[in-house]
């Protein structure tokens, strides 16, 4: 007996135990493999179990649109097009290799010290941002941003890393970030802090270097954590520099992104 003599449901069951990359490769093997490897039965398993619930919170991506897509198209749509959820302050996407959930907490949902005082922080709309508003730093002495994410919304048994997604102004209003490091930290609420001290505008030979995301923004890793079963409450991602020894200016914050670390 050959694998091709198994009922298609059986081959689909097998295929759903592989991963998106394996299924895409399988679709090139033969027409039978293709029909199974592209099937909704397989891709439904690669989507997060609660994806319906999550994307139904989006106003710009109505059910009438996504329910008519094949599950494979929907999968890749969600990898390539983060959808805005939660009052427009958060975005949701899928990690392409694993299908795990990625979220970006938009600047509006980050608690920013002095964020509501226009003298210090301004809210502007940038054409290159997924969110309606980003936070632009005029100047502060006390630099502090904290994002809270509930671990129960994240994929389970997954190591996540958090990234600050930002830009620095190119003009004379950029100040401080090449002179002193800021403290980045990711931890569960109430647990010990593991702090990284990094420059957001390092000279070229200094590590870590912020990475270009390819969407006009830069990112720098803030830390990582392991989400076992979503029962660790809140995870806090923070940026701090509160020594008040220097003035800070010219930072533009789009948000803080949480995405799974690539399997090693």
């Amino acid at each position: 007996m050959e694998i091709t003599q198994l009922p298609e449901e059986c081959i689909a069951l097998i295929m759903s135990l592989t991963c998106p990359r394996d299924a895409c490769r399988s679709s090139v093997v033969s027409p039978l493999f293709r029909s199974v490897a592209d099937s909704d039965a397989v891709w439904e398993k690669f989507l997060p179990p609660d994806y319906r619930n999550v994307i139904s919170k989006s106003v710009v991506f109505p059910e009438t649109t996504w329910s008519s897509m094949t599950k494979k198209s929907l999968y890749f749509h969600l990898c390539d097009n983060p959808i805005i959820i939660g009052n427009g302050n958060m975005s949701f996407a899928l990690d392409r290799p694993s299908g795990k959930k990625c979220y970006m907490v938009g600047a509006r949902a980050i608690s920013i010290a002095w964020g509501d005082t226009p003298q210090y922080w301004e809210w502007t709309s940038l054409p290159g941002s997924r969110f309606p508003e980003v936070a632009t730093l005029n100047y502060v002495w006390w630099l502090q941003l904290i994002a809270n994410v509930e671990t129960k919304i994240l994929s389970q048994n997954t190591t996540y890393a958090a990234y600050l997604v930002f830009k620095l102004r190119e003009d004379e209003y950029k100040y401080g970030f090449d002179q002193r490091p800021v403290q980045l930290c990711v931890n569960f609420e109430g647990r010990d802090l593991d702090v990284l001290s990094v420059f957001l505008d390092p000279s070229s030979n200094m590590l870590p270097l912020p990475q270009d995301r390819g969407d006009g923004w830069k990112e720098i890793e803030m830390g990582e954590f392991y989400n076992e079963n979503g029962e660790d409450g809140l995870v806090l991602c923070s940026l701090k520099e509160v020594s008040c020894s220097i003035i800070w200016s010219g930072l533009i914050v789009e948000g803080i992104e949480l995405r799974p670390r690539a399997a090693r």
Partner: protein, 163 residues
């Protein structure tokens, strides 16, 4: 094997008859690990002979061997059982040729042996994981019968997987 009459809990024996007429005498507790047999026992009650026209003796024997091992391992109450079962499952599927693997999978599916289906599908999935298209074809002896140009087109559509 019949159970001793001196024990207070006597185990009922079922007779399972395969498509080729081969019969197996199995303890009820073992056979009912298979959902389909469990249903038949519950629905039909007193019937001791169960005919299974879709499974031949060779594969039914192997399925029952698996059930027996799992039933025995699970009667011991210590926690090492999961480990023992895992180790034994690994041995069970390790040297199966593809023909046997697929026949067993069909049998396990027909008999609603969920755990065994999981074990066997996982084994086949492990033969696909991380492989190139040509390696998958070779593993499963599949000829590509796409029309000319079609394969290239599908490759392009899924180009991400080939990066």
């Amino acid at each position: 094997m019949s159970s001793s009459s001196t024990t207070t809990t006597t185990t009922r024996l079922l007779m399972l008859k395969a498509s080729d007429g081969v019969t197996f005498e199995v303890e009820e507790a073992v056979a009912t690990k298979l959902g389909a047999i469990n249903n038949m026992v519950e629905e039909e009650g007193s019937e001791d002979l169960i005919c299974l026209p879709n499974v031949n003796g060779k594969f039914l024997g192997m399925v029952l061997e698996w059930c027996k091992k799992h039933a025995n391992n699970n009667t011991n109450s210590d926690k090492g059982n999961d480990e023992v079962n895992k180790w034994w499952d690994k041995e069970f599927v390790m040297d199966l040729d593809q023909n046997t693997l697929y026949h067993l999978l069909m049998a396990a599916d027909y008999l609603s042996g969920t755990e065994l289906v999981d074990l066997l599908t996982e084994k086949v999935a492990s033969m696909i994981r991380g492989k190139k298209v040509e390696e998958i074809r070779e593993t499963f002896k599949i000829k590509s019968d796409f029309l000319p140009g079609q394969e290239e087109e599908i490759r392009k559509k899924n180009s991400w997987a080939f990066e």
